[in-house]
Amino acid sequence: MLTYVIRRLLYSIVVLVAASFIIFTFVSVSADPLSFLKMQPTASEITIQNITKRKHLDEPIPVRYLYWVKDALTNKFGTTTIGDRPILPDLTRVMGHTLQLVVASELLALIIAVAIGVFSALRQYSAFDYAATTFSFVGLATPVFWLGLMLQVLFVNIYLWFDVRIFYTANLSGVDPGTGLHFLLDRIQHLALPIMTLMVASIASYSRYMRSSMLEVINSDYVRTARAKGLPERRVIMRHAFRNALIPLVTIVALNFGSLLGGAVVTETVFALDGMGLYFVNQLNAGDPYPVMAWLMVTATMVIVFNLIADIAYGYLDPRVRYD
């Protein structure tokens, strides 16, 4: 088991280095982080030269990449090219916002999806099952950004026509959220729509997994044995079937959670939510490799860690799985 984990980690590091080099090259080759500054009539030639020198922008790209590695390791991902702003504090702030969004939506989605999946499996081919299937198909065919916009359209028009403001449709850090109950209320009003948007896709896919794994379990021999020895149906379902049916879901959820921590890019953009995803898109637009790379490192590490958690959890929950 330990050797398996170590081998996986080593392989992940190789992937990480490869990915970081590819993306650094992409960003550096085709964008000039100084282009915006150069267009400003007030920016002096000396300022531009200083930045060029400080960030080694006149060196070839592989050399710049090594400078970046040095900066990332010794100086907490370094500073932005323009403004010399430390990157780590910004990244921590947006990560906090993304965590609020992702944890809330994934938790709610999980509860709802498990309920839907179990009920669909127990009443296979019932009206409820068909309704849930239809929902899943439509949910998976709906672009996330469009769903977010449609929710906004709905509530904006409610506001325009009835002057009732139920949810805020944008911007998390504009006003002081207050503390205690005020904080909670503010967050619910701000995050409700993005959470709903994220939830739909998660529910659509989780409930399908839950349904099929529950179906597989309730048709298995040991469940028949449990029934045959006269256990009450409720106990058979809850103790014997349900718990085992959850195992495959653990993997899916862990993987999805890991990738969502990189920011639900689309959802955050639609709702102008100051999270990881919007940060990435903005920095990408600015063409500055340093924050983009910092984002990439944090996100990729999350994905790798949650991949590993998914594998280990699976091996722990299902003793039939062996790693060698």
Binding site: T133, V144, L149, S212, E216, G262, A300
Partner: protein, 353 residues
Amino acid sequence: MTERPPSADQLPEDREEVGIAAGGVSRPAAARLGSGAVALPEEPTGPGLELTYESGVELKARSQWAYARMRFFRHRLAVASLLVLVALAFVAIFAKQVAPHGFNDQDLLNIAAKPSWKHPFGTDLLGRDYLSRVIFGLRTSLWVAFFVSILSTLIGTAIGAVAGYYGGVIDNLLMRFTDLILTLPGLAVLLTAAAFLGQEAQRVGPITISQTVMIGLILAFLFWTGLARIVRGVFLSLREKEFVEAARASGASDLRIIVRHILPNTVGPIVVTMTLIVATAILVEAALSFLGFGIQPPNPALGSLIADGNVGGLGFWWLVTFPGLVIVLIALAINFIGDGLRDALDPTQRIRA
């Protein structure tokens, strides 16, 4: 993914076909039934062959494709979806003839007009007929999606086939490469690549690659991995089979064995995956275009139409609603078609209800 009771759509002959799907495609199903009971002709001919059991039961032989077609056409939702998709494709191909206006024509008396008989999808802030813009956007988006699907299928099949057929070092190299692409943080690579390679036409030597094609190339480069793994798996298991050995013994070249003997056995999964890639490509391209990294103006795409409509505090709801509905319609239709194809081409899969 839609599960129906097996009894509802199982042909009486279904049971016998499972073996065929795993074995080979070129022979009629009935020729492989009970060994002694069937009067096997010298050369199994195509559809229409009549075989007689000793018991006197008449059995009509059909090719595997005939069975697949029958199964597909019994999947009502898939057939309806196919009709929808064909209609949409028709509209997209003949956009210039079908669209009531050009995508840049302005009707300055009706600026930002709500949907009406004159402009069924309304008009945008520049007075352009939105139905026409959606039709031209559909044309771009569908074109990109099919391009991505075909290209990534070609790449995935080629890499999977070579890796699975030759095995050893080649297999190892190709599969590590596949794993690398698969484990790359897809979104980050996609967005950076699109942001920095896909924003304008690129020149490679004498060839100019248009911006739309660039987006297609980037998507295809990330989408082939799943198929490569599937194809490799089938090749690994089939290359040791007797029919491959026989082909080799009769002097067939590697290329001929790969293309003529093994590849036909992978058609099922390839076609299903290819279909589903179209749906994924539509959704991803829409998201890219929405974020501003996808198809660039003046070319209209469904995703960028939605982004353009995200103005004026969203009071102009029709600008956001209609292109999105079209995307949902396409993605839904393609998923149902993929579902029907899976049931039709790969009957073994359906057993896991």
